[in-house]
């Protein structure tokens, strides 16, 4: 039972939260302006702090761009701009509650600048006092958007001043309260926004919180020799690991439990993905240096690493790749560079871009992932990604490898499953890395954004291999800064479930199968807010795109040049799995700089049997690569593996993402999106197909002659 839940959609009925430090000035000011508040389509728990009508939102800094007239709201959740509907025009259905073009969640605001013709521009914080009436307000968002708001001509209107200060303060207070994870205010969100007519997704994204999800995905990979272990179901083995783990089936749970202690944060090697050819991709934290394993323990660790193979290749994901700190540094530099009026001279743009090192980091990640993907495809072995904590770059490399090697991961559903499994469930510390609650900037690092950039590079190099388009990646990029969704709020499943329990007041037990099981999911959309919703009803997941993107926007997620690859995993002939017994000793290699090197001392402790003798030793790294044609950078689709180019000119800046803030630096005629064009093409094709069978009236020859011709130029 949820005692405080109210099925209220009217924003004004909601009382401001008691914990909100609001001055009397705000509440009284709020009471005075009832009219705009009523018009504001808020979300439950949201209330309007200030509103200023007659604001113009211009699309660029200079005046030659169009502007839209509307009302600017500042609420306790976000800054929202609601365009005025011209009389007589049909009101635009606001199906998405966080309009990607107009709204900014408060934690997403990076910098707030007020400008006026009489005074120089001023960066505003909660404590700063504004000494002039602002004529223009510029919001620099952390997702690289830049929003310009111009206040009405008279300028002297107090509204401009008030709303500006309200935003400055709200942005700051949000920092203190961290209200986004406050359960009492947000649990209604999903129910409130789910429109009943929303079609049920035939195959929902697997959240990997229940046993079924893990089993279903394991079935898809189809590996014999692996099972789902429930050893960590109550998070008593490792708090940062997911509840369920994929481990070799030969290994019993009690054997498995011996291994935990010997890895950092007790994060043991576990399966990420299995190549249809028989290789396995695993990920693990580094060995715990201070542990003292017994012989039995070492055997368990070895069994986990080898995973039934005779050979195991350890990939150190820390080597060659940037650290989170370096990623953050590059990202900050990149953001500074991509501001509308950068400090660097125009002709120094290239070297400044290079100086951010962001592209270099992207390249390093793509290269590493393609090395691993090729290794998986060419050899039969187990490949273990090892990082000290297994929570940052392992997520990135593991998911990139799967993008390269698994066609299923390149569909939208597959990609969402991938992110959910390798990032969310695997315990990437999103709370710290995205730093939405702004409790200290220390751990902030856009590792996930780097992954999205890498994905974009792949998408650009293999446009037909991906079912989703650039718009989808952009949406995901932006959404990761929006705290209305549970997906990126927590650092691991344990944290999430703790909050979930806390939230579900009446719930005295933790469901055995996890709390996001299938029946619950079905009930949720229809359930009214007062209905006993499970703990899962706290916040919607980001994958319910219908909540924040309109149907039209979602249609653009689809990549229309996508040519479906065979989704079924067909193992190449002659690759039937060799059953290697656990007693068989294996050889361990280390992948470094695109070459394999035998690894004599893998463990920090000395009594592993792996080190003693390898039945298959190679004298030097070169001979291995020459034996069967080590992956060169020669462009090839090794079976189904995408091998991207990583040389300098091949890695490019994601302009649509990073340069969005300055349309004037894009060129005047923005090229129409490819997806738009191809959509048109497909439409034509459909027409023709129809025409083919029904002998319907064909389009006039002028129309169908050139594919591009029916398109109006998009300006």
């Amino acid at each position: 039972m949820l005692p405080t839940a109210k099925s209220s959609f009217k924003v004004r009925q909601q009382e401001p939260g008691a914990g909100q430090p609001r001055g009397p000035k705000f509440s009284s000011a709020n009471a005075k302006r009832n009219r705009p508040c009523q018009a504001f389509p808020g979300i439950p728990g949201e209330f309007v702090l200030e509103a200023a009508p007659g604001v113009r939102r211009s699309l660029g800094a200079s005046l030659r761009f169009d502007s839209i007239l509307g009302t600017l709201f500042c609420t306790n959740r976000r800054v929202a701009f609601v365009p005025d509907v011209p009389p007589g025009a049909k009101a635009h259905p606001r199906c998405s509650f966080l309009h990607s073009e107009y709204d900014v969640a408060l934690p997403c605001i990076g910098k707030l600048v007020a400008a006026s013709s009489v005074s120089k521009a001023k960066v505003l914080t909660a404590s700063s006092s504004l000494k002039f009436v602002p004529e223009e307000l510029v919001l620099y968002c952390r997702d690289f958007r830049v929003l310009h708001f111009r206040f009405p001509e008279s300028g002297l209107e107090p509204g401009a001043f008030r709303v500006t200060m309200a935003i400055a303060r709200a942005q700051e207070s949000d920092r203190d309260v961290a209200a986004w994870s406050d359960p009492t205010q947000l649990r209604n969100l999903e129910n409130a926004q789910r429109s009943p007519e929303e079609e049920e997704d035939p195959a929902p994204t697997l959240l990997f919180e229940s046993l079924q999800d893990w089993e279903q995905e394991l079935r898809r990979l189809g590996p014999a020799g692996w099972r789902v272990s429930v050893a960590n179901e109550r998070f008593d083995m490792a708090t940062s690991l997911p509840r369920y783990l994929w481990v070799p089936s030969q290994l019993l749970d009690n054997e498995l439990k011996r291994a935990f202690a010997h890895f950092n944060q007790r994060r043991i090697p576990r399966l990420c993905w299995r190549h249809p050819g028989g290789s396995d991709l695993l990920r693990a934290a580094s060995f715990h240096a201070a542990s003292d394993p017994e012989k039995e323990d070492t055997r368990a660790v070895e069994a986990l690493l080898l995973a039934g193979h005779a050979r195991c290749v350890v990939v150190d994901t820390v080597a060659d790749l940037p650290s989170p700190t370096e990623i953050q540094l590059a990202h900050v530099r990149l953001r500074t560079l991509c501001l509308p009026d950068p400090a660097v001279a125009d002709e120094k743009w290239l070297s400044a871009l290079e100086g951010t090192r962001w592209l270099d980091h992207v390249r390093a990640c793509v290269r590493k992932a393609s090395d691993v993907a090729v290794l998986l495809a060419e050899r039969r072995c187990s490949v273990v990604l090892q990082e000290s904590d297994d929570r940052d770059l392992n997520c990135l490399v593991a998911s990139l490898v799967q993008l390269l090697a698994d066609p299923h991961a390149r569909t939208q559903l597959g990609f969402q499953n991938l992110v959910q499994r390798e990032w969310v469930a695997a315990g990437h510390p999103f709370a710290q890395r995205l730093n939405l609650c702004r409790d200290g900037d220390r751990g902030e690092a856009p590792v996930f954004q780097l992954f999205l950039d890498c994905t974009w590079q792949l998408l650009r190099q293999f446009p037909a291999a991906f079912a989703f388009a650039e718009a989808y990646l952009l949406a995901l990029h932006d959404s990761s800064y929006v705290p209305f969704f549970s997906t990126f709020l927590f650092s691991c499943q344990w944290e999430r479930s703790r909050r979930g329990q806390h939230r579900a007041f009446g719930q005295l037990y933790t469901p055995v199968n996890g709390w996001r099981d299938a029946p619950n999911l079905k009930i949720l959309p229809q359930a009214s807010c007062s209905a006993p919703a499970g703990g899962g009803a706290c916040l919607p997941s980001i994958w319910t795109w219908a909540l924040h993107y309109s149907a039209q926007q979602r249609a653009q997620f689809q990549n229309t040049v996508y040519t479906r690859a065979s989704d079924g995993h067909t193992a190449p002939p002659g690759c039937s799995k060799l059953k290697a017994t656990l007693s068989e000793t294996g050889a361990v290699f280390l992948l470094a700089r695109g070459a394999l090197a035998p690894q004599p001392h893998l463990f920090p402790w000395k009594n592993g049997s792996l080190v003693k003798k390898g039945p298959w030793r190679v004298p030097s790294s070169d001979s291995l690569s020459d034996q069967q044609g080590w992956p060169s950078s020669y462009p090839a689709l090794l079976g189904e593996v995408l091998v991207p180019a990583c040389v300098g000119p091949a890695i490019q800046l994601w302009r649509r993402c990073y340069l969005r803030g300055s349309p004037e630096r894009q060129h005047g005629l923005f090229p129409p999106t490819l997806s738009g064009l191809t959509e048109e093409l497909e439409l034509l094709q459909e027409c023709l197909n129809d025409g083919h069978w029904r002998a319907a009236a064909p389009p006039s020859p002028a129309e169908s002659e050139e594919a591009g011709s029916p398109l109006s130029p998009s300006r």
Binding site: W349, S351, D622, S633, Q666, G708
Partner: protein
């Protein structure tokens, strides 16, 4: 042939330039009179035209053999390893000789024979007619006329015979003006903007020195500005940096003094000279040739080469030119030093921004023929067709193509041609396989009798134009734009990977969206053809039915039926109508369903036609 000592070497290795682990292909190297040919074990052939070879280098002997590096003008770089040093030496010497022809008649164009009839050859040369082109622009007219001053190349050797000048510029003015201009290249019309009645004119620098003047030249410029009824003043664009122009004054050349000419506005636009461009390209090639090519070395190397900055400067100048015409309605006179390098670049790009015709395949050929070939861009010297002064070599035309490429990137819907077209033209500017680009000026070309002895490139490009079509081209959109306004902020200029790494397959993107769209386009067209075929079937069937109907005396009862049948002669027959017709004729109900069955079987059209004919005759 006398240079060739070894014609065939076996067991030669071809190295991949960007491979990290020295991957190589083994095969046989053949040396012919015109090409160097490498056939690898997979029977893949690599042809290198001798004229394309820019430099041959023999590296120090290694254990596996003698390395031979060949750099080509189309930016191909091949790295062979020849097992025996003697073979390598022979090939090296032969290539040195063969890649440096001394006389024009040694060029490939004079031996190339595409097995065309003589009439086709003549027709090929007549494909581009510049008189026609000037007519398209709207000259001659009341203000502009064709001048016969240069009929016999008497006034200027490097200009074409037919020149268009203001009607009020008399012959003495022309001659006087030409004496005051470097190399006699006096101001003439390059492009006429019909709507604005403004003109782009071109010339070379005046021989003004520090104080010299020439009344005829002043009259000439005045005549140009008077030929524009819309605007009194005209612009004079000196495309050189101001310093260079001032230095030229010491040599008795220089630039126009604004005080001496009435109604001119003088402006420098600062494009560097051919020597700067040459060394910039050299730096660019060094950067793009680094093997590991990390992002970090690449971008700063690219910036330091200055290449993109020069491209930007050229395009900037063209934008200034085009805006003067469209926004201010003013005529513009463009010159540099001799008026055949930077002037050609700026005039042709300006016209490209202004006129959608030049953004079509045929139009682009016309543009090159007009502003580059006929006005005497020194292709032979700049592209080093003959063994000559290395200081005359400069990538001026390559820059022009790269500017156009940047425009196609910014306006993907505005151009009928694609990147492959530009690359192919670049290829043949250096190949000397066709006569178009041989020699330095029209007079020289006539003396070489190129029209009789060689073939023109353009008809061959037109024949395979399918390869060069841009699938996104939108002709209406292109025509509607009065002016292409590219954004020339530095970050919009990209490295042209497909030009500089055209032959490095490692560097290419893995899939091309353009190709995918082209394929879909092709599919669409196939479907359309299928549809037409099916329509033809319906037509036949209707006729047949008509025949049936005429046998039965139902015709008079259904007069409407007949009119509808006549309508079917339209090329694109609305299919629904046809079906309705059949339904309307009550006799044919059962037959109608029969037809539909047959349609769904989708039998070959020929069979059904025969079937129809059979029924008609019976």
């Amino acid at each position: 042939m006398e240079h060739i000592r070894t014609t065939k070497v076996e067991q030669v290795k071809l190295l991949d330039r960007f491979s990290t682990n020295n991957k190589s292909l083994t095969g046989t190297l053949y040396l012919t009179a015109t090409h160097l040919l490498f056939i690898d074990s997979g029977q893949k052939e690599t042809w290198i035209l001798h004229h394309h070879i820019a430099a041959v280098e023999k590296l120090a002997l290694t254990t596996s053999g003698c390395p031979l590096v060949i750099q080509c003008k189309n930016f191909r770089i091949v790295h062979f390893i020849v097992p025996r040093e003697r073979d390598c030496h022979d090939i090296y010497n032969s290539l040195l000789q063969l890649s440096r022809p001394v006389r024009y008649d040694e060029l490939y164009a004079f031996s190339y024979n595409p097995k065309q009839k003589e009439s086709e050859q003549v027709k090929g040369w007549q494909l581009i007619d510049l008189a026609e082109e000037y007519k398209r622009m709207g000259v001659p007219n009341t203000n502009w006329q064709l001048s016969d001053a240069n009929r016999d190349y008497k006034v200027c050797e490097t200009y074409p015979r037919d020149l268009y000048v203001p009607r009020i510029a008399s012959k003495p003015i022309i001659v006087g003006s030409s004496k005051f201009r470097s190399k006699g290249r006096f101001p003439v019309l390059s492009y006429y903007h019909k709507d604005k009645e403004a003109a782009i004119c071109r010339c070379s620098q005046p021989l003004s020195g520090f104080s010299a003047r020439c009344l005829e030249d002043e009259h000439m410029l005045q005549a140009i500005s008077k030929a524009n009824p819309a605007n009194r003043y005209m612009y004079v664009m000196d495309t050189r940096p101001k310093l260079n122009a001032m230095a030229n004054r010491a040599a008795g050349k220089g630039y126009e003094n604004e005080d001496n000419y009435s109604n001119i506005r003088f402006q420098f636009v600062g494009i560097e000279n051919i020597h700067v461009m040459r060394s910039s390209l050299q730096k660019l090639l060094e950067v793009s040739g680094i093997r590991g090519l990390s992002v970090n070395d690449f971008l700063s190397g690219l910036e330091n080469s200055g290449w993109l900055r020069h491209i930007k400067a050229v395009l900037d100048a063209a934008v200034v030119l085009a805006k003067a015409i469209v926004v201010e309605n003013a005529s513009v006179l463009v010159h540099c030093s001799d008026g055949w390098d930077r002037t050609s670049q700026v005039c042709s790009l300006g016209a490209l921004l202004l006129d959608s015709y030049y953004r079509t395949i045929k139009g682009f050929m016309v543009l090159i023929e007009k502003d580059w070939i006929s006005f005497g861009h020194k292709f032979s010297d700049r592209c080093c067709q003959l063994d000559g002064d290395p200081k005359e070599i400069s990538p001026v035309f390559t820059q022009f193509l790269e500017c156009v490429w940047n425009l196609t990137e910014q306006f993907p819907q505005a151009f009928e041609y694609n990147e492959a077209f530009l690359l192919q033209i670049h290829e043949h500017v250096h190949s000397c396989q066709f006569g178009n680009f041989l020699g330095n000026c029209q007079k020289e070309r006539e003396e070489l009798k190129l029209r009789e002895k060689t073939y023109s490139l353009w008809p061959f490009l037109l024949d395979e134009q399918k390869k060069y079509l841009n699938p996104l081209y939108n002709p209406d959109f292109s025509r509607k734009l009065t002016l292409l306004e590219p954004n020339t902020v530095s970050l919009n200029f990209k490295f042209w990977r497909n030009m500089y790494h055209q032959f490095d397959r490692t560097m290419h993107p893995r899939q091309s969206v353009y190709n995918l769209i082209m394929d879909m386009n092709e599919q669409n067209k196939q479907l359309e053809r299928d549809m037409k075929e099916l329509e033809a079937k319906i037509k036949v069937r209707n006729k047949q039915q008509n025949a049936v109907l005429t046998k039965e005396p139902l015709q008079s009862v259904h007069p409407t039926l007949k009119t509808q049948c006549f309508k079917k002669d339209q090329p694109l027959l609305p299919g629904n109508d046809a079906i309705r017709t059949i339904e309307g004729s009550n006799t044919a109900d059962n037959r109608y369903s029969e037809y539909m069955e047959e349609f769904s079987k989708a039998e070959p059209a020929v069979v059904s036609l025969e079937y129809g004919v059979a029924r008609m005759t019976c």
